[in-house]
């Protein structure tokens, strides 16, 4: 894959480290989360067919994290954006 790092531009996928589903925020107050909710935060992630927002680390480059929206069937990458930014509407 050719992954568009928001800071470095398109780079070969071997420069990157995968970080799983994006927009799974650390809870503001974990003590207020019940056991089921905490287990969901720890262990449960989407495994969707289609557009998927996920985290990437440009490990062999700028060493910065970002999010990308990738299609899990075609591997097309429709957007890449810094952490904290809102997920763009795709598709």
């Amino acid at each position: 894959m050719l992954i568009p790092c928001p800071w470095c531009g398109e780079r070969e996928e071997t420069e990157f480290h995968y970080g799983g589903q994006a927009h799974v925020a650390y809870p503001d107050d974990p003590s207020a989360v019940d056991d089921a909710g905490w287990a969901a935060y720890l262990f449960v992630r989407d495994n969707s067919k289609g557009w998927f927002a996920e985290r990437w680390l440009h490990r062999a480059g700028c060493q910065r994290w970002f999010n990308a929206v990738r299609h899990t069937v075609t591997y097309e990458i429709a957007a890449a954006y810094p952490p904290g930014a809102t997920r763009p509407v795709i598709g």
Binding site: P30, D35, L57
Partner: protein, 908 residues
């Protein structure tokens, strides 16, 4: 040219493939079925070959290569194979390189369509890469008798090649095979640079190059492979794909037989018959299934070579060549690898490219077209479209005029299997020796999909990956099951298209270059002083320093004694060191360590355990506060990079507003661990300005001092329970400080020690090593370190998980010590803990835990182990069996901190 085949000399003409030379010799039998032992000969002239493979003995050698894909050259030595080759015992000494290319347009295939596509794209100014697997561009034009623009097809191809050479942005790679088509137009190709040169290879030239190519647009002009037909005894030497037979005549000037029957299901067979006849082969019968006749079987001579062909009209025709053509299989492998859809075409009687998944264009025979003029126009269109798509808008050039060729017209028949005959004699996959009988057994077992049949029969799993057998088998499957062929579909085509050697994939990353070696500043000293090394991550660390003929155990006993009774020193430079700066470092550390760091005073050091959100320990180490806003964190040797990434991940993705900057200083600082009751004396001698008294330099504090004449950071930390100092100096001073330490310690019998002694010392104290005594399911509480988990902090990463039912379960595996009941036996690391006297034959044997570390201990007077044991903290005193390889050893559970449990030795 002279070549050697199976120890006998053979003549070859210039331009011959090995297969052509074999055919030229007149001998027909060059292989045998891997299971049946039936004689086999050449079936094709190219990549479809599934019978004759050879082991190349000359040059760098190669275990298994198609005879059709070797260029004959002086000195070539090969051995023919009956099914499979043998890996040479010697290491491959040839050089293999990797190369990278970026192209606006990549054209795969240098036949007529590919040449036109390259011309069209190349003239636009785009950067074009053309890759072809043959030595000379033109593809099948060299094996045909067509005229293009008034000259022979070969001449036209040479003319195009000359124009391409004049275009500065066009690069042509011949003798190169595209083997993989991956995501986002990333392709991998194998360039064979020297095998055809024989002994004339310059030593500076790499034998092969592995090309990684990134292209904006790809044109696949990969052509088509001829397909056979299933009929009884269709594997005899003398039976050959029809167009391959013609290719031997017209490309190499060697006739594959003198008296031929041509058997086909499409016009291409008729064209091949004409080509054979014009080359002087007597074509005695042309059998076209569309005319209602077919081949019912064949008869062999005493050598197993084709002698006669039986026909459905009852006649038996003597022949030494049966040229078969069931149709064309468009070479869709790369298109399929790219994610493109493969669809069945009745008009083509083959599987053709459907919807592409990437910026991929197809042109020529891969689309199913069999007409040269169409292929040329197709190539021009695809090349222009690809260049335009890559940002070089251009129109397709006018294709050249084609003056010869047969009047194509009648549609091909989708014909795969003749009726009747012994199914065990109808071969579907020659290399796997698999027959119609095998396919029928698979169907009888209820298997209906192409993928299942492939796995049951092994059809399509050989080196050709189904090139010769795949569509034929799917066709037969459709015919026998009465299902439409497009419903069955093909098996999935996966890379590589042709085999790639491991040596090429490895390139120069072999032996010592396979992985970087990290060496400390003291490495040369360690080598000179006889250290035995072990690998810790990429680091080379001294394992132990044998004196005289000491073995590991003897050296470790001596090194441990020095550390426990005198003084010893270790190169601990491999510990990860991360400097953190900023106003919020304390806040960050409070969130990532289980204990409190923000209250740490400048000049103090604190031990911490880092856990994931699941509460499981993943690293530990000490962190010192150098100034209000400067901290120095140490990590385990193997985890340094991971911890730095961990810090960065939280800072970047969750807490971007924290004022913290992290940088690795592992390589900038060298670390000497000075250990033992006399370590204070040694340090005092080297740092006269430093107050080394217990009161002046307390445990877990840091001092900046001049040590051995240079600046140093000295920390009073201990991983052994003994009085100890960690001396950190700039890496270029390390050797000087190390030798000064040894000189100052000589009076006390100082010993350098390695990682094994370090492990023994820490295990005697019950200090776990994260990653050895933990396994990712271990909490700090499991390690007996509930004291390090803050109750006061509202939150830290991991805290919430300590309230999960799973982590509060009292039956969790917890760290314990073990001593053998017999006082002698050292149990094995990894040994399982079972109930005493448990019958090991009653499987499964209930397991209570396992041994994580095990050593002989002079200090304890007994071998000693650490283990993770269910509810271990409640089971001290209990006796269990530690089982290694079926042998139980009785062990008693003890607290992990067996040596100096009160910490009396800490201050020396």
């Amino acid at each position: 040219m002279n070549i050697e085949v199976d120890g006998e000399d053979l003549n070859a003409e210039a331009g011959d493939s090995l297969a052509a030379a074999l055919l030229r010799s007149g001998r027909r039998v060059w292989s045998q079925g891997i299971y049946t032992g039936r004689p086999r000969g050449l079936i094709s002239a190219g990549a479809e070959e599934s019978n004759v493979f050879v082991q190349v003995l000359s040059g760098p050698g190669e275990p298994m290569v198609r005879a059709t894909e070797i260029e004959a050259h002086d000195g070539l030595r090969v051995r023919t194979l009956a099914g499979k080759g043998a890996l040479p015992a010697e290491a491959d000494t040839a050089r293999y390189d990797k190369a990278f290319a970026h192209a606006d347009v990549l054209v795969v295939g240098g036949g007529p369509a590919g040449l036109m596509a390259t011309l069209a794209a190349g003239r636009s100014g785009a950067r074009v890469l053309l890759i072809d697997d043959q030595p000379r561009l033109g593809g099948w034009l060299h094996a045909a008798r067509v005229r293009i623009d008034g000259r022979l097809g070969t001449g036209w191809a040479d003319g195009v090649a000359a124009e391409l050479a004049s275009l500065p942005e066009v690069r042509v790679l011949t003798r190169t095979t595209v083997a993989g088509y991956y995501d986002h137009n990333s392709l991998v190709a194998v360039e064979r640079r020297t095998d055809h040169l024989g002994d004339a290879v310059p030593v500076s030239v790499a034998r092969q190059r592995l090309w990684h190519i990134r292209a904006r647009q790809v044109v696949l002009a990969t052509g088509a492979h001829e397909r056979s037909i299933g009929f009884p005894d269709n594997d005899r030497p003398g039976i050959m794909l029809a167009t391959s037979g013609a290719a031997y005549c017209w490309r190499y000037g060697v006739r594959p037989g003198l008296r031929a029957v041509v058997f086909g299901a499409h016009d291409g067979a008729l064209a091949a018959a004409t080509d054979l006849a014009e080359a002087g082969v007597e074509v005695v019968r042309t059998v076209d299934v569309r005319g209602g006749t077919w081949v019912t079987g064949t008869r062999a001579d005493a050598h197993g070579v084709l002698a006669a062909v039986g026909l459905s009209d009852g006649s038996i025709v003597e022949a030494d060549l049966l040229a078969v053509s069931g149709g064309w299989n468009p070479a869709v492998q790369l298109f399929s690898q790219s994610g493109g859809q493969i669809v069945w075409s009745d008009a083509v009687a083959g599987f053709v490219p459907g919807r592409p998944a990437q910026a991929t264009h197809v042109a020529g025979a891969v689309t199913g077209t069999v007409d040269l003029a169409t292929a040329l126009a197709d190539g021009a269109r695809a090349g222009a479209a690809a260049a335009s798509g890559a940002g070089f808008p251009t129109e397709p050039p006018d294709p050249p005029t084609v003056e010869s060729g047969l009047p194509w017209g009648a549609p091909p028949a989708a014909y795969f299997l003749v009726p009747g005959g012994d199914p065990a004699s109808v071969f579907l996959d020659l290399q796997r020796d698999a027959t119609l009988h095998d396919l029928q057994r698979a169907m009888g077992a209820g298997l209906t999909s192409a993928e299942h049949v492939k796995r049951f029969t092994t059809i399509g799993t050989a080196a050709d990956q189904g090139r010769g057998s795949g569509v034929l088998t799917v066709g037969v499957l459709a015919q026998l099951s009465g299902r439409p062929i497009d419903e069955i579909g093909t098996t999935t085509y996966r890379p590589p298209y042709t085999p790639i050697s491991f040596a090429l994939l490895a390139g120069r990353d072999r032996g010592r270059l396979a992985d970087p070696e990290r060496l400390t500043a003291l490495h040369d000293w360690h080598v000179e002083h006889g250290a035995v090394f072990e690998d810790v991550g990429q680091w080379k660390r001294p394992w132990y320093f044998p004196v005289g003929d000491e073995d590991l155990d003897a050296a470790v006993r001596r090194e441990c004694a020095a550390a426990r009774t005198g003084v010893a020193v270790m190169d601990a430079s491999t510990l990860g060191k991360i400097e953190l700066q900023g106003d919020d470092v304390g806040v960050l550390l409070d969130r990532l360590y289980t204990n409190v760091f923000s209250t740490l005073a400048v000049g103090k050091v604190r031990y911490g355990v880092m856990c994931g959100p699941d509460g499981m320990a993943f690293d530990d180490g000490t962190t010192a506060r150098l100034a209000d806003d400067r901290w120095l964190m140490s990590t385990t040797t193997g985890n340094a990079a991971r911890v730095l990434e961990w810090l960065e991940e939280w800072l970047q993705t969750e807490w971007p507003l924290l004022d913290v900057r992290c940088t690795s200083v592992t390589d900038q600082w060298s670390t000497l661990a000075l250990v033992g009751p006399r370590s204070r004396d040694v340090l005092a001698a080297l740092a006269p300005g430093l107050d080394v008294s217990v009161e002046g330099f307390g445990f877990m504090t840091l001092r900046e001092a001049v040590v051995a004449g240079g600046p140093a950071r000295v920390m009073r930390v201990s991983f052994s329970g003994e009085l100890a100092y960690e001396i950190n100096v700039a890496t270029w001073h390390a050797l000087n400080v190390w030798t000064e330490v040894l000189a100052a310690g000589a009076a006390y019998g100082i010993a350098p020690y390695g990682t094994e002694t370090m492990h023994v010392l820490r295990a005697e104290k019950g200090y776990p090593i994260v990653g050895q005594d933990t396994d990712g399911t271990t909490t700090p509480q499991d390690l007996g370190m509930a004291w390090i988990v803050s109750k006061k902090k509202p939150d830290f990463v991991g805290k919430r998980s300590y309230a999960r039912p799973h982590t509060v379960d009292p039956g969790r595996r917890q760290l314990v010590g073990l001593v053998p009941v017999d006082g002698r036996t050292r149990v094995a690391e990894g040994a399982q803990l079972v109930s005493p006297g448990a019958r090991l034959t009653d499987t499964p044997v209930p397991m209570h835990g396992h041994v994580t570390s095990s050593y002989d201990s002079v200090a304890l007077g007994t071998p000693f182990a650490l283990a993770l044991l269910s509810a271990g903290s409640q089971r001290h005193g209990e006796v269990l069996d530690a089982v290694d390889d079926g042998v139980p050893t009785a062990v008693r559970v003890v607290p992990p901190a067996a040596y100096d449990p009160d910490g009396a030795r800490r201050d020396g």
